[in-house]
Amino acid sequence: MATVTDSETDLIRRAQADDSAAFCSLAERYARRIYLLAFHYCRNTQDAEDLSQEVWLKAYQALGGFRSDASFYTWLRRITINSFLNHQRASTFRRQGQTSVAELIESGSEKLLESHTSSPQTIYNKVLFESVMSALADLTPTQRLMFLLRHYEGMSYDEIAGAMNCSPGTVKKAVSRAIAKLRVKLEVENEEPEQLTQLAAQEF
């Protein structure tokens, strides 16, 4: 069973034969996903670009070893995780602070550019961005990476454990702690008002 699409297979074959244009076409397909994963991990736009481009460079150099028994993205994600872990060990992020809403607006974020209209939705987006980024900052790098892989990437505990060289139980515990921390930081109440209790009970 082919796990990669035909066109993708063709692009990979050409990229393996030193065709950088074919590799760039592959990069264009997955660049956003890799960039966003990097951005949520290091919480800085410049570091996210550097880190994601480093992933692509590593992928280009290691493409000769790619076998079609797994999907290209799965293989690419493995390289991404390894790059993240290497940066985590070496603490090589140039910028320690996270990107603020102002910086994101300056860079032209689609959602936040609407701030000129000052609509309630835009204000909500700003507040949400700041609070979630701050909540993610409270997690340890390992917790953050495991949470992102589980929640954003939809990886199973076994897959994350295999990629990060630890047990599935460790991953499960880390994800659980990450969610608990986020809940506290985002001030999500878990108390149900009494009047809603009856309504909810009727709903279910």
Binding site: F23, Y60, H151, I179
Partner: protein, 208 residues
């Protein structure tokens, strides 16, 4: 039996998988207000973090620049690209280059110990070499020293002298004065009228 902790864990897993817990956990959620509250809080938390992706996504005009920069980096990295299998001998044909590029796996503690020993040896050698040590090397100077050789002269017997051996005088026999010597006599001795005798006790062993 209903356990809130287990239900909460299942709710979390279902939400992370993108499933709706209300379908598979409808009974638990209907009957337990605590689990219901947990469900709402978890759902809200994960929804908030998911919305961050939409908020943080760079605009479309960002990507051409991103890919241009990536192409430049790829072009720069294209020259030293290494194909798999190149390390199997074709790049290092000679045994000399293989010898110099070979490596040995050393456990970290052993490596650290070796490094420490090297460091200590280096520091020690530095410390020793900084102090100038003057070593006096004894120089052997050949010198003739006249040593007097004492030679015992041979005893030559020239005369034999015989000596008369005299026996020692015994205590019993009085020593007679030699000729021409004065002899003590009792001439002119007058005895006194009273004789004082002093008896010293304790002289004899049986005296009382």
């Amino acid at each position: 039996m209903h356990k809130c902790k287990e239900t909460t864990e299942r709710i979390t897993e279902l939400l992370l998988d993108g499933a709706d817990p209300r379908l598979s956990l409808s009974t638990e959620l209907r009957e337990c207000a605590n689990c219901r509250a947990e469900f709402r809080a978890l759902k809200e938390t994960l929804q908030l973090t998911t919305r961050l992706i939409e908020t943080a996504t760079p605009p479309d005009n960002y990507w051409p620049g991103y890919h241009a920069r990536l192409r430049e980096k790829l072009h720069a990295a294209q020259q030293p690209r290494v194909e798999p299998g190149q390390y199997r001998g074709d790049r290092h044909p000679s045994w000399v280059s293989r010898f110099f590029s070979s490596s040995i796996r050393v456990p970290v503690p052993v490596g650290l110990a070796l490094l420490l020993m090297l460091g200590v040896a280096f520091v020690f050698s530095k410390r020793v070499s900084t102090k100038p040590v003057i070593v006096h090397v004894p120089v052997e100077v050949p010198r003739e020293v006249p040593v007097p050789v004492v030679q015992e002269k041979e005893k030559i017997v020239t005369q034999i002298v015989y000596r008369e051996r005299r026996s020692k005088p015994s205590k019993a026999t009085p020593v007679l004065p030699k000729n021409n010597e004065a002899v003590a006599t009792l001439d002119g001795f007058k005895p006194a009228e009273e004789v004082k005798l002093t008896v010293i006790k304790g002289g004899a062993a049986n005296e009382k």
